[in-house]
Every structure is written in C-alpha cells, then in structure tokens.
C-alpha cells in the first residue's frame, strides 16, 4: 500500500498547466453553477483528434467517466498507458478520427487541467480544497458547451460516453437538444440509484477518514490521503466488475505462494489486484476531485429537473439515440437503460437499444466488446449518412 508520505503530489503539474490545450475564461466569463456559485476565472482542458470539416458539422464530443479524463485516444501523460477508449476511438474505429473531429474535455471538478478542487482559488492564492463549489453533471455539460462555443462549434454530430459520461450525454440531449444530432449513452442511467450513492458515500468516507486528508487541505500540508483514496478505489473497483468476472480472473487462487500465510498479507490474487488498483489510482487522481465528481453523480436525477417526468426532458427532441447496456452490469443495470428507453419512447424520440451479453460487469463499456463496437459503428455510420457526412 502506498504510504501517506509526500510523494509527488502527482496531478499538480496537470492541474494548472496540463499536457493538453486549455481554454481560460476570465472574470467576465464565469461558469454559473447549479449551486448558485459563479466560478471565475476558470479553465477547461481538452484533447482533439481528427479535423473539423469546413461546414463544422463533423464534431463528436466524448464525455469521460468518473475517474477518466480527456486523454481518450492518446498516451496518458501521467500513467503512460493508452487512451481510455481506444477500443472505440481512433483511425478506422467506430468513432473514427479520420472522419470526425473528436473532442474530449476534462470535467469541471476534475484534476487533469480543468478547474477543480486542486486548482488555485484566485481569491486566496491557495488550492480550493473543499471550498470549491459543488458541481453537477449539468455544470460539467455547461462547461463543455462554453468550450464548444469557444471552438466555434454550434452543433455536435454526436455526443457519446459511458457511465458518468453517459449521464453527460443525456444532459446534453436534454439541455441542448438543437445542438445534438445523435447521442450514444452507454451503461448509464438518468438517475443515480440509492445503491450507487451508498457506494460513493463509503468511498468518500474512506478518503475523509484518512488523517492525511487534513480536512481537505492536504495539498498545503504537502501530503495526500493516499490510503483513504486507495481504499475508496478498491471498493469502487469491485462494483465495476461482476462476480463471474472476479471468479474467472482470480477465483480463490493464491498470490505467489503455495499456501495461506495465516496473516493479513495479500494471500489471494484478488486482494493483490485490488491493492494494485488502489495504489495506481492515487498516482493519477486527486482525492478531493474524487469527492466532488462522485457527488456530482449522486445529485444526477434528470427527471427531477422536468417535473419528475423523465420523458419531459426529451419532449420534442429530434436527436437520435443509441442506448446500450451490459447483462452483468449491476452498477448501471439494464433496468436503468430500459427506464431511459421507455421515457425516450414516451417522448416520441428516435431510439435504439441493445443489451449486450457480457460477464465483465460495468467495466465492459471500456473493454474490447465486439458487439458494442459493431453496434456503435452501425449506429454512427447510419447517422453520418443521415447527416450527409
């Protein structure tokens, strides 16, 4: 397990001056948040792939999940790993960077270059910490809309994303229906369930129980709540898998030993794996960002903004939707996608829905799932034909 020592406060270089293009909005261009707070000045970091056509009609926005970032299809500047959605995004891939101008930005509240709790509060000259205003999924989408305005992109050919990225896709379709031609929400829901809020709360409490959290002011103390954040990640990671996947990958196999050690060492492979996931995560993610972004998901209830009727969020929409879920995903189960599809139907929206057979749990949306690739490719190609691309 990582110690709480002041090893590199890693993302800090990425927080203010990331390895991505950044748009900085001054005091005159605040991001007005759902909480009522006005964030200014603020900045948004993003990556782009491909070329915007002359008609500016081939822009495709990818929205990242809770612990994702804008590095969707390039080597990650901190981890050195491939982009998080290279299964779907790249040259010749279903989200084809040779045909589309693909944009992915870090969410507000994040820690890879868009303003978040690790950024400096201009009024105090110190990191925001938990003085940073609470943000919502709608705030994230508002920030993305300001980025697109800045880039001179009026309408998006498509918005795509999984999990929390899918929530942003739905928010885009609800908030800016005229700007979204096609929407691909994957393994997501229009409302965050009580069970998911419960898991998030466990993770947040783990972070806050770490003495190195320092009431949220750990950056000034030169430490980070690595143990707490690692535990949060370990717990969350279990929810991204499935019983079948854990059994297939690890079973009860022992880690580099022939017999149990009669200790609390990581005897089992599954323990070793989770510890590694926890350690790796704290190297690239800010603990306070984890609190803020999980909170944003908890607050997500799209229907609540429309009189409690989800269909009203999509009333009169001309956006075409392609919804996908996975059979073994118990974090965002198929029933969530079905509720969404029923609402879209009730609104008269053009919607396709497929439930993909997989034992890989929620994580399946990030993995090489041929049926997901084929479905997204079929939908995108047909939508591009309809769009004249």
């Amino acid at each position: 397990m990582p110690t709480g020592a002041a090893t590199a406060i890693v993302p800090s270089s990425q927080v203010d001056d990331p390895a991505s293009p950044v748009v900085r909005f001054g005091w005159d261009r605040p991001l007005v948040l759902d909480s009522g707070a006005r964030l200014a000045p603020w900045q948004i970091a993003y990556q782009t792939y491909g070329t915007l056509n002359a008609a500016r009609s081939n822009a495709l926005l990818v929205c990242h999940a809770l612990t994702g970032d804008q590095h969707v299809a390039n080597t990650h500047p901190v981890t050195g790993k491939p982009g998080w959605w290279e299964t779907l995004v790249g040259p010749g891939k279903p989200l084809d960077t040779e045909r589309f101008f693909i944009i992915c930005s870090n969410v507000v509240g994040g820690c890879l270059g868009t303003t978040g709790p690790a950024s400096v509060n201009p009024q105090t000259g110190r990191p925001w910490g938990i003085d940073f205003p609470l943000v919502t999924i709608r705030d994230m989408v508002r920030a993305q809309a300001m980025l697109l305005d800045h880039l001179g992109i009026d309408t998006l050919f498509c918005v795509a994303g999984g999990s929390m990225g899918g929530m942003q896709v739905l928010q885009w379709a609800a908030s800016y229906p005229e700007r979204v031609f096609a929407a691909v929400p994957i393994a997501t829901a229009a409302i965050h369930s009580a069970q998911n809020i419960a898991f998030h709360e466990v993770g947040r409490q783990a972070v806050m129980a770490d003495p190195d959290w320092h009431g949220g002011r750990y950056l000034e103390a030169g430490v980070k709540p690595a143990k707490g954040l690692a535990v949060a990640r370990m717990g969350a990671h279990i929810t991204y898998l499935s019983e079948a996947a854990l059994h297939r990958k690890f079973g009860r196999r022992l880690q580099d030993r022939d017999a149990p050690t009669f200790s609390f060492d990581a005897d089992f492979q599954v323990e070793s794996y989770l510890r590694y996931q926890g350690e790796a995560f704290v190297e690239r993610f800010d603990a306070n960002s984890y609190l803020y972004v999980t909170r944003a998901m908890d607050y997500f209830d799209l229907a609540a903004d429309y009189g409690g009727v989800l269909a009203n969020a999509f009333r009169g929409t001309r956006t075409r939707f392609c919804v996908a879920s996975f059979t073994s995903d118990w974090l965002f189960p198929t029933s969530d996608s079905r509720s969404l599809v029923h609402a879209l139907n009730a609104a008269g929206a053009s919607v396709s829905f497929v439930e993909i057979e997989s034992d890989k749990g929620h994580d399946a949306f990030l993995l090489d799932e041929p049926v997901l690739s084929a479905t997204v490719r079929g939908f995108i190609d047909a939508a591009a034909r309809a769009r004249g691309l």
Partner: protein, 216 residues
Amino acid sequence: MPTDPRSLAGALSSPAATRIDLLFVADLVEPGARVLDVGCGDGALLQLLAERRGVDGRGIELSREGVSQCVARGLSVIQGDADIDLADYPDDAFDYVILSQTIQAMRRPRVVLEHMLRIGRRAIVSFPNFGHWRIRLELALKGRMPVTENLPYSWYDTPNIHFCTIRDFVALCDGVGARMERAVAFDSGGQPVRVSVPWWVWNLFGEQAVFLLRRN
C-alpha cells in the same frame, strides 16, 4: 424462448410470397405515417416502409442480432419483449402498429393485440394460417404435428407456441372489439385469394393472412 420469429416468414412460404406479404403490408400504410413494427427481425419491413412510404418507423425485436442489423440500417429499434414492453408505450403513439409473422410466437397474443390497438390508431397483423389445407392434411393423414419444408420446427422446439387459423383470428378480433378494415389471404403461390369467396375458402387455401384493424 422464440429467438427470431421473423425467420418464419421465410420458413413458411417461398421468398416470393414473403415479398408479396411485406409489400402488401407496406401498401396498407399511409405515406409519412408513424409506425411501430413489433418483432421487426432484421428490419426488412421497416426499411421497405421507410423507402416506399417515407414512414417514421420504430421497432421492437427480441434478438440482439436482429437489433444490431436494424441499427446498422439506420433504423430505430429497441431490444425487448413485446409480451412485456408494449405495456410501457403511451396511447395513440403511432398511426400503425404492425405485427408481421410474429403473433404465433407471442406468449399472450390477445394482450399483445389489445396493446397494439391501444398504442396505434390502426393495427396490421400478418400470420401463417394453421388452417391451410396442407397442414390439415399432415395432421389428418399422418396424425403428427406438421413438420414440413415450410414448417421446419418440431413441436418441442418451435418458437411458434400460439398457431391459429384465419377463423380463429377473426374470432379474436371480435373478442377484443377490433374492427376489420381490410383482410387478405395469400395462397401458397403468393397470390391473393379472391375477396369475394367465403371465409371457409380463405381458411382452407390461404397460406398467410394480413389484417388491417382499428379499435371499435
């Protein structure tokens, strides 16, 4: 579980007859209408309707493969079970709700038909006629459930759990209070059986039937 009832359209009749069946259904639909195809298979009918009649079409299909083929055609199709999911559609959401070669695979055909008449202003149902003389002959002479080139399933693995004859279907229409606006039967050559002939002739020589219904 029935996996792909639409494959029956091919199984029950020659391709030419299937074509005529779909074309006839397409001709019943007014241009530009909103259409829901229940059990839409690979989307052949929805695509035909979009191309020929310019409809705003939607589909429900049980098989994931069928949905994927539909999505690739640019159709809006939901993976789902008509026996369950039709209940979630609002009243009068469509001009036409179509059930093409699928009613025999439904667990509750009567409930499905009632939902169709509720969701759509009109319903179109096409189905294989189990009263056709060749099927009657199979049963009468061999004493076995018919298994033929056109009906390849054994009784224990068929997706078709609710076969009916044309007369049976007419009785169901009466039972749910549906008004028959048009009804046509096709013989094994895919030719329409003349409208002027009595019901028993239809029921004997019609290999498939197509009904256009509306709520009474």
